[in-house]
Amino acid sequence: MQFLISLHINPAVLDALTDEEKAALGGGHGEFIEALRKSGELITTQALVDPSQAAVVSVRNGQPAVTDGPFLEAKEYLGGFYLIDCEDKERAIELAAQIPDAAIEGLGVEVRQVMFAAGQLEA
């Protein structure tokens, strides 16, 4: 079963971390990726640029319009994700709990099953 574990970050929370805490966060992700890769459960993981760099695209009367993002005015933004393939939802939750963000107040880790896929993975 495939799941997307999305990481909802809060830039203010991240800024308030000490250097040691930031290093531990980065190191924690490194270890998590390595463990997932070795167990054969990692499909891919990606991190996104700061939400201030987002462009919001809309088309009105056939005319595209681009404005500065982010789309939602919120405290939390999608910061990145893990796409995994594992046994069941319980295992996905168990894995999500190993992500360092899950232990930091103000950061969100969300698990959702994949329903449809197209692209290179189905080749």
Partner: protein, 407 residues
């Protein structure tokens, strides 16, 4: 030899050759890699140079050489292991078929179901890592890591290359059958991605089940599982429309059912039911055979279907079985009786929010003449499923019963 015939031959020989190697050298892990390389070499060489007179002997010889190369290149272990590996005498191939022993090893209880299926498809099914990865819609690197981890686990579990004995054998056989069932289902319920490859998984599961059946023809559950697969696979052409929409059993064009598979499956069901013990696969196969026996949906022998579910509830109680029995009960005693049985399942945590409970209730409410209730439950079921095809089907049922007030 045509390309498909060559592939069939290689896939059939893979577990046999692997069995010979593991018997000679032990170390399942290294042997499995060596056999995979030998099979790849054959797939390249044989079409150009012709199939050798003794294909199995050829594969054993080449795989043994690969194994020696592997051992030699491993400097740290060279002194310890080259002595055993160097003793390979090509051509001397014992005539035992270790397919079953290999299946037990690949379906080792120390592995997760995802690892069991992957390892089984590669080591027994003879699929390449890339093919297994494609079938499960994951990148090759992900699948390669999973297979390699699975082999390490099997090694760490310290299992021997023999068939388990006594009660353990029955327990382990149950795991093997479950893995084959999962492989079949993965192919059968293909809902996304390249459906062609996933349909191949159903065929592969049937091929493996046939191999097990050939070795254990007297085991009722093995026979039952093979029969269940054949009877289910027989409906594949009628199960979806050209556009990929699901067609429920009672609306399927039964002329599209594969009569040959139904005939074979039905015979197997009869044979298995004559045996001393009944198991869940035999009963599911018997239910599938009952449906296959009806020329039209209206002629279905529902009392028999209901009776079979009752027996199943007794020998292998499971809320999903009760759910299915409610459908049969509604057919013989009316929708309210089916709904009453469903309400007994409401407190069951295993089914809480499950789309099957919601969709069966929707179906029975529709039959009972409660379109508003049916609409609500079809909608909730559509939200709960993880299958696109099923979601589309449930949304279309919801539209059919949508009350005027929400139109």
């Amino acid at each position: 030899m045509t390309a498909p015939a060559l592939e069939d031959l290689l896939r059939e020989l893979t577990p046999q050759v692997l069995g010979v190697l593991v018997r000679r050298h032990g170390q399942f892990e290294g042997c499995e890699d060596a056999v995979q390389e030998a099979v790849l070499a054959a797939a390249v060489q044989w079409p150009a140079e012709g199939v050798p007179e003794n294909p199995r002997g050829w594969l054993v010889t080449v795989a043994s050489r690969r194994l020696i190369d592997q051992v030699r290149s491993d400097h740290a272990r060279r002194d310890r292991e080259s002595a055993t590996a160097a003793g390979v005498v090509p051509g001397d191939v014992p005539d035992t078929d270790d397919t079953l022993v290999l299946l037990f090893l690949c379906c080792h209880p120390a592995l997760t179901a995802a690892s069991q299926t992957a390892l089984t498809l590669r080591a027994v099914g003879g699929l390449t890592t890339a093919e297994v990865a494609r079938a499960f819609l994951v990148p090759e690197a992900t699948m390669a890591a999973r297979i390699s981890r699975a082999k390490q686990r099997v090694k760490a579990a310290g299992s021997s290359f023999t068939l388990p004995a006594g009660a353990e054998r029955q327990d382990r056989l149950r795991v093997v059958l479950h893995v084959l069932y999962l492989i079949f289902n993965e192919g059968y319920t293909a809902s996304s991605g390249s459906e062609l490859h996933r349909a191949d998984l159903a065929r592969e599961a049937i091929r493996l089940a046939r191999m097990v059946h050939a070795q254990l023809p007297g085991d009722g559950e093995v026979t039952g599982l093979l029969a269940l697969m054949l009877l289910t696979h027989a409906r594949r052409q009628a199960r979806t429309t050209a556009a990929g929409d699901l067609v429920p059993l009672d609306e399927q064009d039964r002329a599209k059912w594969d009569r040959e598979l139904i005939g074979e499956g039905t015979e197997l069901v009869k044979a298995s039911l004559a045996g001393p013990a009944l198991g869940p696969y035999q009963l599911q196969a018997a239910i599938a055979a009952t449906h296959a026996d009806a020329a039209t949906a209206g002629e279905t022998n529902w009392p028999q279907v209901h009776a079979l579910y009752l027996i199943m509830e007794r020998i292998a109680p499971n809320p999903m079985v009760t759910l299915n029995r409610a459908v049969a009960l509604a057919e013989i005693a009316g929708p309210p009786a089916g709904l009453a049985l469903l309400s007994a399942l409401d407190g069951d945590e295993r089914l809480a929010g499950h789309h099957r409970l919601l969709s069966v209730r929707a179906h029975l409410l529709e039959k009972a003449g409660d379109p508003a209730g049916a609409y609500e439950h079809y909608r909730r079921a559509a939200k709960s499923t993880a299958s696109i095809a099923e979601q589309r089907y449930l949304e279309s049922r919801a539209s059919r019963v949508r009350p005027r007030s929400v139109r």
